[in-house]
């Protein structure tokens, strides 16, 4: 295939990715150094109230947005350097909290709170997803062929469901005196409020994510199990390997590339955790990095979107993703070189 035909085939796709992914990235990067604000001017306003004998008058200085001749607010964009980053990171406050070893004060800053949750979420769900996925795959591989179809169908349901709706559906089981809350209360014999503090919410959110992603891991591992070399298993058996040893030394090494693959996908996706915050309405207690950017982008009560702060927090989120990607890219590059 010569380069012209190649360009004709790949062109539209590359063009779309450049226009809608690469270009926004650059614009986010520049936006994070600029702030666009209405221009304010200070005017003196004299307000008089009728009084006895004479009016009582007072002069107030007010700052109001400047209007142009059409009556619309004049906007001004100016370079602020790293100010937006400083607004997001709040380094002085964070440093003060760290130096006085005050974890609570440190976690009162939105960015650090979001970072802490995002990392905890990613690291805790990963082993659970891998473990549950592998167990389901192994068990599925053991059952009668007739049952496998229906079981796969049921397994796919949590994976396919709209993430916000999935989170909401779990939320409704627990909300107020939902049946599962009632069940736990019966077992523990005391009142519990799952939505009133951060850690219970976090457990619910992680539980939802494991429920949502484990099917994906299970299906991938199940497909991998179909290709396990039966000769290797047989020789392990002849050598007297127990069931556990066969799993540990034959099956798991065979699945290793898939385990790496699922881990990478899961790390990427759970670092972007967002729908859980919406579905569990947890923003009062628990927020994630992507939700922080989203929150800056949503208009506030005055209708303003803090674009520059959103850009700064977006750029900071990107740093984490790049750290995560380096090992993956190195591996892919090595495979590519090895393949030729």
């Amino acid at each position: 295939m010569n380069s012209r035909t190649f360009a004709a085939f790949v062109g539209p796709s590359v063009f779309m990715m450049l226009l809608f992914i690469a270009f926004p990235l650059i614009s986010v990067f520049t936006q994070s150094f600029y702030v666009t604000q209405p221009v304010y001017e200070t005017v003196e306003v004299e307000t008089c109230t009728p009084g006895f004998l004479s009016q009582t008058c007072e002069i107030q200085r007010k700052s109001i947005p400047k209007l142009d001749e059409d009556g619309s607010v004049i906007q001004e964009t100016r370079f602020v350097g790293l100010d937006s980053y400083r607004n997001v990171l709040e380094p002085e406050r964070a440093w003060k909290a760290i130096s006085s070893l005050d974890w609570g004060a440190f976690q009162a800053i939105d960015f650090w709170k979001a970072l802490r949750f995002t990392l905890t979420f990613t690291l805790f769900t990963l082993p659970l997803v891998l473990g549950l996925g592998l167990t389901i795959a192994l068990v599925l591989n053991n059952t009668a062929k007739m049952l496998r179809g229906p079981v796969i169908f049921v397994t796919l349901l949590p994976f396919i469901i709209t993430p916000v709706i999935g989170a909401l559906s779990i939320n409704w089981l627990f909300r107020g005196d939902g049946i599962l809350t009632a069940l736990i209360e019966n077992l523990l014999n005391r009142d519990i409020a799952l939505f009133a503090q951060a850690w219970t919410l976090e457990i619910l959110m992680m539980g939802y994510r494991v429920w949502h992603v484990a099917p994906f891991a299970a299906i991938v591992f199940y497909a991998g199990l179909q290709t396990v070399n039966s000769d290797a298993l047989e020789s392990a058996l002849i050598d007297g390997a127990s069931r556990w040893q066969r799993l540990r030394y034959v099956v798991i090494p065979h699945l290793m590339p898939l385990i790496v693959f699922v881990s990478m996908i899961h790390l990427m996706d759970s670092y972007r955790v967002f729908e859980e915050v919406v579905g569990f309405s947890s923003q009062g207690h628990v927020i994630s990095l992507q939700w922080l950017t989203y929150d800056f982008l949503v208009p506030d009560q005055a209708g303003n979107r803090s674009i520059s702060r959103a850009s700064a927090s977006a750029m900071l989120t990107m740093i984490g993703i790049s750290l995560l990607l380096v090992p993956l890219l190195r591996r892919t590059w090595r495979d590519h070189k090895g393949g030729h």
Binding site: A8, P12, M17, V139, V151, L157, L168, S169, I179, H340
Partner: protein
């Protein structure tokens, strides 16, 4: 293989069956439960006692319920429909549709079946049941509380059908455009071993990892001010991109592109290159070979990739909620709005009904395309 040594001891068998059973319950329970809740009055739906939720005494007390007869006849109609869809319909299409137009036969057939089902189930069945119920005595008496009022509230009073249309537009657009652009690119990338092709794939992989909010932060100011910026090029009627479904379609297609080209590339690589070489020898250009020889054998891969594009467009919350205005809102952001506003338990059950309405199409999707979804999940993985 020595089968005896591989047979499992009974306790292991029991544990594994038990585990599978527990997992199936966990996987299906939340979805099943919101479906049950959506048909009950608020008092029943949020009751602490599971049996009260299932049987709905409060709903029944309001005079809304179904009898054993209703259940039996309803199930019979559903079963008959499923039977027609899986047995009769394929036979009819095979015998009546002209060769090469089987897909048209399928579209017409499924539409007719869907309309027929709606007419029989919602039109004919209630009338027949009304006439039959008194005759059957105790079997005709309501036993389980069930009401569809929340669905009526959602779809008619709250204008959810409008959101449904918007979802349909966005999803259909995303699937069509992303498959058209993606198959071309996937084919080009699969057939070219150059470093440039590999570079594009690597950059696509990086793009796949980007949080969507990062990209939206880039779009928003441009989209809101686009009318001013585009005026020098397009003149007076330059559009404001903010709030336009087609702008969101373009954005979602681009976001989905990295995944689409990776997946389609791996499907194209499975098709031997000799096939298009043979076509080229017979005098086809690259594009003709792609269209006449490769595409006909690529349908399974395209359908699978299309399913995942569909899921992305249909399930998206972040992009659609930030880039669409209230008038063009799709279903998922709309329900989140409903959920934030809810004050009474009735509002909550209405939101549950909306959630079930969103999930139902996905349920049927898995039912019909289970095999394709599984193959799509494993396609990217097995080949690394």
């Amino acid at each position: 293989m020595p089968t005896r040594a591989l047979t499992q001891p009974l306790p292991l068998k029991l544990t594994s069956t038990g585990f599978l059973l527990v997992w199936c319950v966990i996987a299906a329970f939340p979805i099943f439960w919101i479906a049950v809740m959506s048909f009950k009055s608020p008092v029943d739906a949020f009751a602490g006692n599971p049996f009260q939720v299932i049987f709905g005494p409060a709903t029944l007390a309001q005079g809304k319920g179904i009898s054993v007869l209703d259940i039996v006849l309803g199930l019979a109609v559903i079963w008959a429909t499923a039977r027609v869809a899986t047995r009769t319909l394929p036979r009819l299409i095979a015998s009546h549709a002209p060769a090469g137009y089987a897909w048209a036969g399928w579209i017409i057939g499924s539409l007719t079946l869907a309309v027929g089902f709606v007419v029989v189930f919602f039109g004919l069945l209630p009338a027949v049941l009304n006439a039959l119920s008194p005759i059957f005595g105790p079997l005709g008496r309501d036993v389980i509380g069930l009401s569809t009022e929340h669905y009526k509230t959602v779809w008619i009073d709250r204008g959810f059908s409008n959101n449904f249309q918007n979802s349909l537009i966005v999803t259909a657009g995303v699937v069509t455009v992303s498959l058209t652009v993606g198959t071309l690119a996937g084919y080009g990338l699969a057939r070219s071993g150059s470093n440039l092709a590999f570079g594009i794939l690597i950059v696509a992989l990086i793009f796949r990892a980007l949080p969507h909010s990062v990209l939206v932060a880039g779009y928003l100011p441009v989209f809101i001010n686009s009318a001013e910026w585009l005026r020098p090029i397009l003149g007076e009627n330059a559009p404001t991109l903010y709030g336009k479904p087609w702008a969101v379609i373009a954005v979602l297609v681009a976001i989905n592109q990295p995944f689409t080209i990776w997946m389609l590339r791996s499907f194209f690589q499975n098709i031997p290159a000799e096939l298009d070489e043979a076509a080229r020898v017979d005098g086809c250009s690259h594009f003709q070979a792609f269209r006449r020889v490769i595409m006909p054998v690529m349908w399974p891969g395209v359908i699978t990739t299309g399913l995942f594009s569909f899921l992305l467009g249909y399930n998206d919350f972040l992009v659609t909620s930030l880039l669409l205005d209230a008038q063009n809102q799709t279903m998922v952001p709309a329900i989140a709005g409903m959920f934030n506003r809810e004050t009474t338990t009735t509002d909550q059950v209405v939101a549950v009904a909306a959630a079930v309405s969103i999930t139902a199409p996905l349920f049927f999707l898995v039912m019909v395309f289970q095999r394709q979804i599984v193959s799509g999940l494993t396609a990217g993985a097995v080949k690394g």
